[in-house]
């Protein structure tokens, strides 16, 4: 057990070190493009979006939950790419030729992606406060938001790793990623509530786990615990199933690559 922790600690520190070496990328990781959605998209639609329809005092406060989950989505789906680079340049082989537990490499990546995602969610919620959006459930609500984010993020990172282990090159990886992420965002309750969608879109959106994460986080920000609790129960069930499927798929892809 001590050996396992030593491995995971060292491998996780490697990701942290890499990030700290790329100063630019570190700044852009924290002040990420998702903020622009919140600030610009939120402000743009302030008047275009009907408060009656979105059921929120203003559009930015409605959008906040969506942007939080979009961040989780982007981080999660991109989370596997560094393992792909490691696979491409042989670093992964070097790591696997050492007597480490086979899961350590993957686990270190999960830990790192989750930590970064939490930081980013905090930045987004912080910026939202500047626009007058205060989570109705306070700090404990924020903690629950982080937990939901991580619950969703684990599955997404697992998908990303499965793609990373299956594709031939990182060009392929980014094509698959680009293809996945926009439909997932539009076919969710991130920008518009399900009730305001065309029927066919709302049907599809109900199958999108992102919708469930957003619909659990939104009342934590907008209304309060009484409205949030039943949705929290739902999201835990759905995410557990989602994560289980993703982890199973990525474990298979991992085993196929590593043999």
């Amino acid at each position: 057990m001590r050996e396992y922790l030593q491995e995971i600690g060292a491998l996780t520190m490697r990701w942290v070190r890499r990030l700290s070496r790329e100063k630019f990328s570190m700044v852009f990781t924290l002040v990420q493009p998702m903020l622009f959605w919140l600030i610009f998209f939120g402000s743009l639609f302030q008047r275009a979006a009907d408060a009656q329809v979105v059921q929120a005092p203003n559009y930015i406060s409605f959008l906040a939950a969506g942007v939080v989950v979009m961040t989780v989505l982007n981080n999660g789906l991109a989370g596997g790419v560094d393992l792909l680079f490691d696979k491409e340049n042989g670093f992964l082989e070097r790591l696997l030729s050492t007597p480490i537990h086979r899961t350590s490499v993957v686990l270190s990546r999960f830990l790192f992606v989750m930590a970064i995602t939490c930081l980013q969610i905090l930045v987004i919620l912080g910026v939202a406060v500047l626009f007058g959006v205060r989570p109705a459930t306070g700090l404990s609500g924020v903690a629950v938001i982080l937990l939901i984010g991580m619950l969703f993020g684990v599955g997404l990172t697992a998908i990303s790793m499965a793609i990373a282990f299956s594709v031939k090159s990182h060009g392929d990886f980014f094509s698959v990623l680009g293809f996945l992420s926009l439909p997932l965002i539009f076919l969710s309750s991130a920008l518009v509530p399900l009730s305001a969608m065309p029927a066919w879109m709302s049907v599809l959106a109900r199958f999108n786990p992102m919708t469930w994460a957003i619909d659990a986080i939104r009342p934590l920000i907008l209304s309060g615990w009484t409205e949030a609790l039943p949705r929290l129960g739902m999201v835990v069930v759905i995410m557990t199933v989602f994560d289980a499927c993703c982890l199973y798929g990525s474990a298979r892809a991992f085993r196929r690559t590593i043999g």
Binding site: Q6, N89, R94, T98
Partner: protein, 325 residues
Amino acid sequence: MGRAVAIEASGLGKVYDGATAVDGLSFQVFAGEIFGLLGPNGAGKSTTLRILITLLRPDAGHATVLGHDVVREADQVRHLIGYVPQERAIDRFLTGREHLLLLGDLYHLPKSETRKRIAEILRLVDLEEKADRLARTYSGGMKRKLDLACGLLPNPKILFLDEPTLGLDVQSRLRIWDYVRRLRDRGITIVMTTNYLDEADRLCDRLAIIDGGRIKALGSPSELKAGLGGDIISLAVGAPETARIDRLASELKGLSFVRAVNTKQNGLDIQVESPEKALPVVLEAANRAACRLDLIDYHRPRLDDVFMALTGHAIREEFPKNSDE
């Protein structure tokens, strides 16, 4: 010879997507030697190496490293070996020292032990000054040294090198050869792949020549060359005469002291028993066939002749480009 066996491979086979990469390889590596797997790209050398270092499972056969099965006792094997991959498997955003510290943790060494080993290894590969610079500032040769240092960190009994000098400039190559010899002299067994004939000839104590996933010959470079028997006369024929090469070849094949004739694009390699008798006869035959000769070369058998004789083709079609990053 009664030497201690470090690696025993028997009947190794591996199939990728229906194509056979390795086809029934059996060989032994003795403790304390430099053992080379020589062959062209795609011959199955790297696949064999990956099986031995537990990164690939063989589809057939089995192998033991220092008595441990590479599949069932993979973890024990990993503790005993060091690996230097073919690609510069280096993280550009870490310093040289950070690479080694990371590996120290992956081999579960206490920090103090890791530090001690790092100091020693950096001195050995001559990388002390640059150890705290980011790896992206390293030259190709320095990256290779760092690779080697990483392979040495676990204090391995056996060090595996995959194409250790691929794409290096001449000085760096000679330096790597020198390190490899020094490591052997310290008692480390070395297993390496290469597609450089001169490297195999000058560095390896014993070789397995591999082509198409099979072992074509096994032995020391001098044994392999002696096994060929006789010397080599190479003829290069002028461009308009190339049509006559086949005629000349068939004429030479009938001669008693000619052992074998290999036809090349613009000439012939003739393996002969006694060159002093053969040379005038060969020239005469060329004359009779009205072949104008551009070049005549006579030499003791080299490893490329051995390779040619065993596989029927050259190890590389063209001369390797010396790419340096």
